[in-house]
Each structure stands twice: as structure tokens, then as C-alpha cells.
Symmetry: C2
Subunit: 280 residues, 2 copies
């Protein structure tokens, strides 16, 4: 319908809207030339009145284009209101639920989606413990209980250790520590003393010297720390160390936190752990 | 087809598999009586050979039931391999992409999904800064740059401040501090001294005394800290404080970290901030 113009997009949910945002954005990413003006309307029918949705869709409808709605709504009344608007509705649940009902020979529950709901207390504890472990063990701050870590991420400063650690802790309830590789660690032939006994649980990050220099420059502009020469040296030493100690490693240069987390899960076989249940 | 038996489920993706896991699990949550044995196969066609998927689906196929596959795969060759197996395939992309192609009058990009890809460097910095800010300001550890916080979560110990803070930082790049309400804060009539000047950015958490006692018991069993009497007192004082200082608040008792985050985003209008772009 349009190319340069901006199209209004709504993620509408009777729950958090996280599923609608996740899949909706994944779908929109396939149309990089288009411009979208995104809005999320969560908790429709409870916190947010249904009339708010109707009004928002109405006011986003122009003579040129109707808004696009990515919907994860189970309630039939709310679905009818959305269907009654001018919006183009991409229903992310209904069709697939019908497929699953047929295959499982069971009707779907009628309550609204509870996937991002609380879950059991045990899982909540695991997740909370994991986030606290990650904070305690960020950037080598603590060696306490390092033997209980599921994985120890090692890397030079600014290769992405901290966000990757948090993502794995928050979403997978894994105990993740991270440890910086500083200049001091490189005169020796092995891993830093504190993590060396746990080499089998170490995973290394690297990046390109250029990228590292850009990222460090953001923190300390025009410093030795951010110089291309220093970054080149640290990256080469880190990669040598990983190879020498047989620590698997990965470059963060062209990867997001989600991609790095997915590779680490796979490479360290962490999906097989009992507390693996993903909570995206 | 089956009820008590366990059904094999695969989340298969040529990218991280996060979208397939998120929507797939949201759909499966509608069948609480069924048992599923979940497997994620990410990076198919790059890290993971296509033959691995074919073999995994083959070995999970029994005379009684075929596995269910939730697929987010763009590559036609890989899709053909999955379609050629005995599995029941729920395709989370293809149908919706066709709908979007028609509506936007543009063909979808042929590369595999990049939604969980790196994005621009600026967004990466925002996210990294947010996680570091959250770690620095966890549990009232620092008052530095508190005036730059997008939101300050206040609550008694163990109401869910830390995981909620991390979720908002990691997924929305927001600067989130959190501050504990301890017994010492309650003799006064106002918010704790450090956060009081920023009352308009405070958001309170509460829970039920019973739930708080359970959660605290996990940390320090049979202590005054975890006693029902102490929890009742702290919760009542915190809620009184929120009302008196007009700080919006929410109970974490029946809500997940995702749900609390979604309510806070909505209530504090944080979706309107320039750095809002969600990165689920």
C-alpha cells in the first residue's frame, strides 16, 4: 500500500503483549524499507478498557491506510471489537491454536494467555537466585561459590560479558559468572587463577579490534584503553589464551546478546540442565 | 491424539530460536493437561546442519505420535526438509509473512530473520549502559546519577525489585535503579532521603505477607526477617508510604517479572521514551 510513508502498527494483547511484540517485530524485520510507528496495548480487558483499543485503532486509521494489528487475544468479545475496526489484523494465536487443538485432540483453555504469568514458586526462586548470582559475580567481583556456576564467561573489557550474563540468568535461570581478562592475566600461560580450576565451564568472548576500540571509545574517548593498538593486542592475547586452554569462544562483533546467549546455551549443552525451562 | 503420554516438541529456527520458543510456549500453555518434551534447535543451516534436524525429528517419531515442530525458518531448502519429516509443523512465519507481503505490497527479504540480530551500535550502547546502571544501582548501592534514572523501583526486601529492574534494563534499555525500604525508613513520613527528590519517578512493589514470608524463608529460614509478623508489618508500612507519597504501586504476589515490567512501562509511560524500542 505504501513505501516511504509510516504505517501505524499495534501490538494488542490481553496479557503482557510480549509475545505479540516479539513475533510482530520479527515479522516486520523482513520489510526493512518500510517505516512503522509502533504501539503496544497490553492487558486489554483488565487494566486497559476495550474501548481504548477501539479508539486508538480508529484514530490511527487514515484515508490512505489502516493500522496493522498483531493480536494475541483469547477473549472472543475483544477479538470481535478488533475485527470490527478498519485495521488489518494479523492474529498470532487463533490459527495456530486451532492447528494444535486438532493435533492434540483437546480444546484450548478458555482463560487468557498465562505464558508470561507467574509459574511456580520454585521457578521464580531459581530465576531470582540466578539474577543475584550474576550481579554478585559480575566482572570478577566475587570468587564465592564459583564452583556452582553453570558457565563462566571470560573476555577482555567491553566484549559483551555483562549483558550476555544477565540474559542467560534472567531467561534461563542459569548461574552465570563473568571474569575480565586484563593485561595482568596475560604474562602467564593459563586462565586467571580464580577461574582456572573451572576451565571446563569457561566460555570466551572476543570481537574485532576495530569494534572493541569503538565500544571502548564510547566509555573513555582517546585513551590508551580505547586505542586500536591496545585493542588489537588484547584481542590477540585473549584468542591465543582460549586456544591454548581449549576454552570455546565466540566473536560478539556481529552478534546480539540473544545470539550469543543462544550459541553459549548450545555449545555448553546448558539446555540439558534441569533448571533449563526458558522464560522468554 | 494422546493425553497422559508425553509429546515431543521442537522449536526449530535458522536464527536464535527465541521467537519460536516464545510463541510456541505461549501456544502450548493453552493445553495445561498435556505433557511436552521440549527441544530447541537454533541456527539451522549455519551452526547446526540440516541433517541434524532431520535425524532429531526422525528419532522422536513413534508409532503413536509424531513430534510437533514450531518453525521460524525462512530458507526454503530447510523448510522442505522439515516438511518432508513425519512431524506436525506449525509454521510461525510463512503464513503471516504472506499476509504482510499482501498488505505492504512488498516482498519479504530473503535473508534469514535478523530480528534478534545486532541492530545498530547506538542501541547496543543504550542496552549495555542500562544493564550497567542497573547493576550499579541495585538495592540502593549507589545514589550516583539517580537523577538520570527513568524509574526507581522501591520496595521491602524480596518483593521482586532486582529481576524486574534487570528485565526493564535488558529489554527496553531503560535506566532503572532500585531502592530497598528497610525498617529504618519508616519512622519518617516520607520516602527514603536519597530517592525523595525523585518521587515522580518512583514505582512501589508490594506483595502479600504470606508470599513474602515464603520467599524470605527460602533465604533465611525461621528468622525474624521471614516471620509472618514482620512481613505483615513491612508490607503494611510500605503500602501506607506509597499512598501517602502518591507513588504508584503493584503487587508482585501473582505476577511474573514480565507482567510487572509491562505494568510499570504502561503506568510510568516509559514506552514513550526515545530509547524505548523493545528488544525482546
Amino acid at each position: 500500500m505504501l513505501s516511504a510513508a509510516t504505517r501505524a502498527v499495534f501490538f494488542v494483547s490481553d496479557s503482557t503483549g510480549i509475545t505479540a511484540e516479539t513475533l510482530g517485530n520479527a515479522l516486520l524485520a523482513n520489510f526493512p524499507a518500510a517505516h512503522f510507528d509502533r504501539h503496544t496495548i497490553p492487558f486489554v480487558g483488565t487494566v486497559t478498557p476495550v474501548s481504548t483499543v477501539a479508539a486508538a485503532l480508529q484514530s490511527a486509521t487514515t484515508p490512505e491506510a489502516a493500522p496493522i494489528v498483531f493480536a494475541t487475544v483469547k477473549n472472543a468479545g475483544i477479538r470481535a471489537v478488533i475485527a470490527g475496526s478498519a485495521a488489518v489484523v494479523i492474529d498470532l494465536l487463533a490459527g495456530h491454536l486451532t492447528e494444535l487443538e486438532a493435533e492434540l485432540d483437546t480444546p484450548a483453555e478458555q482463560r487468557s494467555g498465562q505464558y508470561h504469568g507467574l509459574g511456580d514458586l520454585e521457578r521464580y526462586f531459581a530465576r531470582m537466585r540466578a539474577v543475584e548470582f550474576a550481579i554478585e559475580h559480575d566482572d570478577g567481583q566475587s570468587g564465592r561459590a564459583l564452583d556452582t556456576a553453570d558457565v563462566i564467561i571470560v573476555a577482555p573489557s567491553r566484549c559483551g560479558k555483562t549483558p550476555t550474563t544477565m540474559y542467560l540468568a534472567l531467561h534461563y535461570g542459569l548461574l552465570v559468572a563473568n571474569y575480565p581478562l586484563t593485561d595482568d592475566d596475560f604474562p602467564t600461560d593459563g586462565l586467571p587463577r580464580i577461574v582456572a580450576p573451572h576451565a571446563d565451564r569457561c566460555f570466551g568472548l572476543t570481537t574485532t579490534a576495530l569494534r572493541l576500540s569503538q565500544v571502548r571509545h564510547e566509555r573513555r574517548p582517546n585513551s590508551t584503553y580505547s586505542s586500536l593498538a591496545q585493542c588489537t593486542l588484547e584481542i590477540r592475547r585473549a584468542e591465543d589464551l582460549y586456544r591454548r586452554t581449549r576454552v570455546p569462544f565466540l566473536s560478539s562483533a556481529t552478534r546480539s546478546v540473544e545470539e550469543m546467549s543462544a550459541v553459549i546455551l548450545q555449545s555448553m549443552k546448558l539446555r540439558d540442565r534441569p533448571h533449563e525451562r526458558p522464560t522468554p
